[in-house]
Symmetry: C2
Subunit: 523 residues, 2 copies
């Protein structure tokens, strides 16, 4: 049941006077529930409760944390239709997408449950002492990963489930042993509260300390700012815009005790289509890419916003075909009027730059909050000279850059800011001839794709969802997959510690039966 | 041979007009060589050369990188007596220490050589595709660690070899495939240049690209500032003071593209001595700790600057014994008059705080630049109330805090800033009774030691040399041991990439025979 209140641990609380509602972009009306923005006192209480919970939660066994994570998944599924309907009413996204995203969220939670139940993720490393070593004895040293402390998670507007309240950041943090305080996304506050209730219920059922999770409502930036500044907060996870992520990074860096911020932010996901591929299957590629550009109304961080090709008749044809394909698709609704407005304004900015040609723009009548998809094209030199053309237009928009030659193509790629993904579309054995282009692209991205589309982020250990700034604030981590737990842990070393007082992970007898590295060898 | 010039790759360069000399604290005179501070143009050239070298170096095989690292070790040893004499004349440290530190440096280089020659450090992770999976095909994804790009390394005043020019940061970065630009420490510029010449020679002998290493002289902060701001620099390693490290962290955070800074900074390394231990072997502990406090004139980042005990007659006796032991030791010289001055001034600051009692201070006649060791003591409440008492006094100084009870002890530990180490000194089965104290301590440190001294940092995979801020700027990494390579790499993912074009680490046939995780299982 949606109450509009904050969860401070297991307590529902609504002490504030600032209220807001979520919005249904399809009906173009507000949804019914009123949400109470968290007050300064509520924020402080939630963080202090998390810090207190941490003293217990950090020692909770992997088995018990797994039970907690699995219970969250169960409770989310138990929310059933209420969750799906709330999700749809707060996003305009279809039921199929809601259920798919729920499945992904549940899968992520269960993956982390499996990871921590098994236990080897702590990377236990043991070097036995050599008491009679000369000139000095070698101490016994044993290292494992331990949790950082309370984590603040900012959910994404475009993934109310998989990258929000109980999404990847939260699942990874709880798995690590870190309490989580979610700054609820105002566009899907109802979905957020429902998921929060599932987490709180799961925590109670599995005996987790109160405060292991809190959910704070917020319609502006103040709640987030106060959270990131709070001395008891030890790290931040964020998915959203470059401006938002950078603001949090700056705040965290200015603290007396700076803390890590992992923000997954904007990306235009360059796609290079090589000549052979375009001549072999230009029409098919145009169709595929029209689909990828408009998927989910273009509201994916892996949306292909930039397509790079070498000038040729075939490229000209491809651009025409892409234009035709994309105008033939039915427009769809955006998540929120604000997002729709930003889309239209960013699109206008892009098209008003010098020498930008509109290839195709959907011009028929359209419902409120629906997005008119668009493809534009520019010359390579124009793109190189104008950094404004490198900016993301969040929505069903893409820009085709016509490069003079491979050398210019390489320079353009090298000039790009960091990206989540890069894609190479090539004909048989064509890729070998563009090694410099591939190398330049690799240097700018977190994931490189061959003959596919960047949309679709598989949840598996080999996935990197991140990349050089501003794709993320720290390219050394991924936001997706079990290794995303590394964002929230630190290595810790015990020297000559009594064996019986070591955590089980490091005891001589290895009671958990985990994989460990002993004296440099995997055991 | 020392020339006083900068190494811009393999080229010796001295275009600047700012010059300086190093200083021999024992003779209290300047050393002979004149060093030329790098100019803006030289800095820019060095970084651009590093960026160019990176395009080649990042693809150099593990075997060839190992040959390079081993060649550096060989060339350092070949410098022989010139290196040792220069080291001693620039630090006042004895020959035995110089040779010991050289051994450590060579060991670190060879450890990284072994690591990259073997190759499994890239953490290759493969998830095979499932083309017929419903509702969507599962792509083939393969992930491994790749280097970040050019790294700037700031050496430490107190470790001219092991934490400077070819020290841990440099060895780890080169092993990762990152070119290195060293901002030479002005106090040991001659030692730095000699080691730089060894690296350059090794790079030439093993066919590494020019620019894989540069060494820039600098007597002030400008060279470092320009380096950290340079857009082609991708990360920073630093060992030194909190003020210096924080300044670099702030600079890096304010860049258009923020970059990671790993700074290993100050620490007072709290040592808790429990009642049973003090009553069993107080005299022995006093002797041991007098030695640890004065080791290397107290110029170790793991120096025990804070000793915590529970008020008792035994503690009073221990404090007296510690005072007696420490005054019985011969004072030794500090690294530089500036460091000596800072020591005297910080010590004065500490002793002038209210209710600080001097237990023992060496008062006999003393040579210039030698440090008068000191032990002081305060009440627990005094320490809790005055954050100035928490500040590091770099040198042979320690403060004994007399706590009223275990609860106050725990509160004091919780109030400390982050530390590199924490030590528990306990009698038989005594530790079990102080679980809360141990937990509080664990929360503030990177390494916890039982019945030992914090000085002495073993180089092995299980070592954590780092810890919560300000012990380091990012507790998720260590500065010592092979895992310190993780600071300079990022995970990178290939999706559906042609097998023959994948790096060897990810090819189906596993030509390098490295350990990999395939479909979630170690293979």
């Amino acid at each position: 049941m949606i109450t509009g209140k904050n969860y401070i641990g297991s307590t529902l609380s609504a002490e504030g006077t600032i209220t807001y509602k979520t919005f249904n972009p399809i009906t173009n009306t507000e949804n019914q529930h009123t949400f109470y923005e968290a007050t300064e006192a509520e924020i402080d209480t939630a963080v202090l409760l998390a810090a207190k919970a941490f003293t217990e939660f950090r020692f909770v066994s992997g088995q018990r944390k797994a039970a907690f994570l699995n219970a969250i998944a169960d409770e989310i599924l138990a929310l059933d239709d209420e969750l799906i309907q709330t999700y749809c009413s707060e996003t305009g996204l279809p039921e199929g997408r809601a259920k798919g995203e729920r499945g992904r969220t549940v899968f992520q939670l269960r993956s982390f449950a499996e990871l921590v139940a098994e236990g080897s993720w702590v990377e236990a490393t043991i070097d036995y002492g050599i008491p009679d070593r000369e000139p000095a004895p070698k101490p016994d040293l044993r290292k494992m990963n331990i949790p950082l402390g309370p984590i603040v998670v900012f959910g994404a507007s475009n993934f109310p489930l998989a990258y929000s309240t109980a999404g990847g950041d939260t699942a990874a943090a709880l798995a690590a042993g870190c309490p989580v305080i979610v700054k609820s996304h105002p566009m899907h506050a109802g979905t957020g509260e429902l998921v929060a209730s599932a987490i709180v219920k799961a925590a109670e059922k599995t005996g987790m300390p109160n405060g292991v999770f809190s959910n704070l409502n917020s319609s502006g930036i103040e709640v987030g700012v106060q959270l990131v500044k709070h001395p008891e907060v030890k790290a931040v996870g964020f998915t959203g815009s470059i401006r938002g992520g950078r603001a949090l990074l700056d705040l965290a860096a200015q603290r007396p005790e700076p803390i890590p911020v992992f923000a997954e932010m904007g990306s235009i996901n360059p796609v290079v289509i090589l000549p052979q591929a375009i001549s072999d299957r230009g029409a098919e590629l145009a169709k595929t890419y029209a689909g990828s550009i408009t998927l989910g109304t273009g509201q994916f961080c892996t949306n292909p916003g930039l397509i790079l090709g070498l000038k040729s008749e075939e490229l000209t044809n491809f651009i025409k075909q892409l234009g035709t394909e994309i105008s033939s698709l039915q427009p769809s609704v955006m998540l929120h009027p604000n997002i729709h407005q930003a889309y239209e304004s960013n699109k206008k900015n892009a098209t008003q730059q010098e020498a930008v040609q509109i290839v195709s723009s959907y011009e028929n009548e359209i419902k409120t909050n629906y997005a008119r998809q668009m493809v534009v094209t520019v010359e390579g030199e124009t793109f190189l000279q104008n950094p404004k053309l490198h900016q993301e237009v969040f929505g069903p928009f893409s820009m085709v850059v016509q490069c003079d030659n491979a050398e210019q193509l390489e320079r353009i790629i090298a000039s790009l800011e960091g990206q989540l993904t890069g894609t190479m579309i090539a004909g048989d054995s064509e890729l070998e001839n563009f090694a410099d282009v591939v190398n330049a692209l690799q240097n700018r991205v977190g994931r490189i794709i061959f003959n596919g589309v960047p949309t679709g982020v598989e949840v598996c250990p080999s996935m990197v969802h991140g990349g050089p700034y501003p794709a993320s604030t720290d390219s050394r981590f991924t936001a997706v997959g079990i290794h995303s737990i590394k964002r929230w842990v630190r290595p810790f070393s015990y020297q000559n510690w009594p064996n019986e007082l070591l955590p089980d992970e490091l005891k001589d007898s290895n009671p958990l039966g985990i994989q460990r590295t002993i004296n440099g060898k995997l055991a």
